[in-house]
Symmetry: C2
Subunit: 321 residues, 2 copies
């Protein structure tokens, strides 16, 4: 059984690749909910939806978020009424938020709601929130503290980041399926998707007890670098790393995951960084990490799984030596 930690776009691609390689009972994808927020009265879980839509085969491959073939009549009408349109909600996507909000308001947990949505969308692999307690990523910037979506969407990541806070994370508990996966005797590896280490994976690791549980896991923890050739494949990861005083490179990713991950998959373009990654204490694997189609997603998933198996074998060898 494989446990994957995922944010939005990059996470959803590797999740789709892993789902292509693994039976539904052999994969649990734990998704960042630090981006979740109440907007227009609706509870929006952007990363959960991105992963679920991807596994359902309904994702918009151009934007990386939302549904393919979406229409925007609601949003246009809301704009004419002077409503808030900076966060785009498609007509069909809106049904997900309305139904999630209705179920949450009726007392269901986010795990229960997500399971119901997965069933409705025909997603057989387990996609679960990192926690059923609310965790809010706050981006402290040179313009002051900004709730995540205000930083990410409304301000288009323009303000310079000074620090990232995961409000509520310390007292939050891993969701039941996340906790169960961490304790599952069938667990073979933990995979950290090529999502933003500070904004997407950071909140998951910040949930009470998670960082220690993963750092002390008896199985290999393998991360995929979201930085390729000094730039993020998508999103503001490189910009934020630089603003926080880091080099935007796979080597920095290795530093950030040192003590948590055992191995890092870096892109072929970053082959020269292998020594630096190893100096941070991680084993390294070089691969083509750009998941531009379903075949490359599955291909990278297979590389990651093989790398994890290799690390497990090496660990077993050391243990028995």
């Amino acid at each position: 059984m494989i446990l994957a930690l995922a944010g939005g776009v990059g996470g959803s691609k590797l999740a789709r690749g892993l789902a292509a390689c693994l039976a539904p009972s052999d994969l649990t994808v734990v998704v960042n909910t630090g981006d979740d927020f109440r907007h227009l009265g609706l509870w929006v879980s952007p990363d959960l939806d991105t992963v679920v839509y991807a596994l359902a085969g309904l994702a918009n491959r151009e934007t990386g978020w939302g549904l393919a073939g979406e229409t925007w009549h609601f949003m246009e009408a809301l704009g004419r009424l002077g409503g808030e349109t900076w966060f785009r909600l498609g007509d069909r996507d809106l049904a997900t938020h309305v139904e999630r909000t209705r179920r949450l308001d009726a007392g269901a947990t986010l795990s229960e709601v997500t399971a119901a949505l997965c069933a409705a969308f025909g997603v057989a692999h387990r996609v679960v929130p990192m926690s059923d307690q609310p965790v809010a990523t706050v981006v402290h910037t040179d313009e002051g503290p900004l709730p995540f979506q205000h930083y990410f969407v409304r301000r288009r990541c323009v303000p310079a980041v000074r620090a990232v806070e995961h409000a509520g994370a310390h007292s939050a508990r891993p969701s039941p399926a996340f906790a169960a996966a961490l304790d599952d005797p069938r667990l073979r590896a933990i995979v950290v998707a090529p999502s933003n280490p500070l904004l997407s994976i950071g909140p998951i690791l910040a949930v009470g007890g998670v960082r220690d549980a993963i750092a002390g896991a008896r199985v290999p923890v393998v991360a995929v670098s979201p930085i390729v050739g000094g730039e993020a494949v998508k999103g503001p990861a490189a910009k934020i790393l630089r603003e926080l005083g880091h080099a935007a490179s796979a080597a920095t990713i290795a530093t950030l995951y040192a003590g948590v991950a055992d191995g890092l998959v870096v892109d072929e373009r970053d082959r020269a960084l292998c020594r630096t990654v190893e100096a941070a204490g991680l084993r390294v694997c070089v691969a083509d990490t750009l998941m531009t189609d379903a075949q490359r997603e599955a291909g990278l998933a297979q590389v990651v799984l093989a790398f994890a198996a290799e690390l497990a074998e090496a660990r077993g060898g050391r243990a028995s030596a």
Copy 2:
């Protein structure tokens, strides 16, 4: 200045006719809010929207409710998720409910929200809720008590009506613009639109102090019968009147409005009922009341205004005699 009391479809048509004849400052349309309900987390005001959309020139003339050229992608997606789809919300219409709910939750009154929506839709004539306090029409049926929309939409008016309750009406106050119109020295007449007397006009009259204020008004009160040839032009008015032991006729409308209205406009097809209407104490005016297009809407509005002027003159004559 004319004050009109209106429900949904019939009310919106006469309101559109009056708006075609009167300057914006010379018309206030007070709309039933007993049908309002929270649905899918949204505050829906069906009659207000029907009247506003009609005056904005955006109404769907085929259905009598909703927007012309509407799409239903949200509703279809919600159905696929197992959500509640018995109350149809179009993609563009949804923006009205989201924006209304956002403003109400932020502390605005329904009057303030309605004024903002009217402005956004370019509606110059005043359309106002009957009250800013919630009033809920409950239909007591042979299947038990049903909230209005559950009776009207979900159960398609099938259960037999035993009584109609206006929960909260007694302690509700007329909205500020409604109260101001009743007290306005410029007020020349009160027009009761051809809406359901029990389900649409009943809630307005039930608001604290309204029935007495209208019954004691110094200006003529003129109603238009929603029953033509023994049937309702639209909706369940005839069925409900029969279930409550009344004949479904303009004569019954006269009985229901006796003591409140001074005159009743009946359709040409009901000319034979003039004596019965007069026996109930109302003056009668015969006209073609079927508002099948904009010209007929304005035509009926002119008849109603002329009838009111005639009653005012007769009243003035008596007063000075």
